[in-house]
Amino acid sequence: MVGSATLDWSRDRTKRLGQTLGLVRYLASEEMAFVNFSMTFLWAGSAYADSVVKIQSEILEPFFRNFLKHLSRQAKQITEVPASDRVVAVDHNSKDQHELEAGLECIETGMQESNSLRADADFDRSLAELSAARRLLQASTVRIAALQALLAPVLKWLGKQALGGAVAVAISAVIAILAKTFGIKIPTL
């Protein structure tokens, strides 16, 4: 009989929520998807409007309510994930981001122009790591752990060098912005 097939909903509430989310994606995927669904599982008569009302009231209304509760719980848990495991958005229009990019550029240029740094055995690797970090920051999102792994050793190494002038100022600024924007703390500096 039309519309009388049964859905194999999970008994687990969270899985059932996921199944309904899959149904929503299906219903959103094409204009007449609700007709296919209604004719198979939830027949409400030949009028399209009645089918939509039935889906809205019997499936979607409780789903939207329960899904918001799920998001609320999850949002709090995800927020509590350690900073180092997070992927965060890079706001390329923010003042801090501009200052961070400018600071890193200043440091990279200063490194390239410093004969004393060039003589150090760690120079090549440090320069490459700094360059890689700048490349990471060009993306729309960045993994905090990756950024920290690249920048912390370089900044610590630079901290041990006798640097002055614009590069020293840039290092301080970069460390401050990394802490403020990404929660990255550079220890021992």
């Binding site: 859905l7 999970s10 969270t14 899985k15 929520l17 996921g18 199944q19 989310l21 899959g22 149904l23 929503v24 994606r25 299906y26 219903l27 959103a28 995927s29 094409e30 204009e31 007449m32 998807a33 609700f34 296919n36 669904f37 399209y48 409007a49 089918s51 939509v52 809205q56 009231s57 979607l60 209304e61 939207f64 918001l68 799920h70 998001l71 609320s72 999850q74 949002a75 709090k76 995800i78 927020t79 992927v87 965060v88 958005a89 999102t141």
Partner: protein, 60 residues
């Protein structure tokens, strides 16, 4: 996501739910798409949505 950001999201969420539950069949799929777009706009909430299992194959 802090409480203020989630509160703002909740307000927008309720508006889009209202749109999806009150629309007729002609705009039904696009209203649901709008609702899904809202979830996907937030990295945190999109991740939360992905944690759910999506089990049905409607073409099967």
């Amino acid at each position: 996501m802090d409480d203020a950001a989630f509160e703002a999201f909740t307000e927008e969420y309720r508006d889009r739910v209202s749109d999806a539950l009150r629309t007729g069949y002609k705009n039904f799929s696009s209203r649901l798409s709008d609702w899904l777009d809202l979830i996907d706009q937030s990295e945190v909430l999109a991740t939360a949505a992905r944690t759910l299992e999506e089990g049905f194959d409607f073409d099967a």
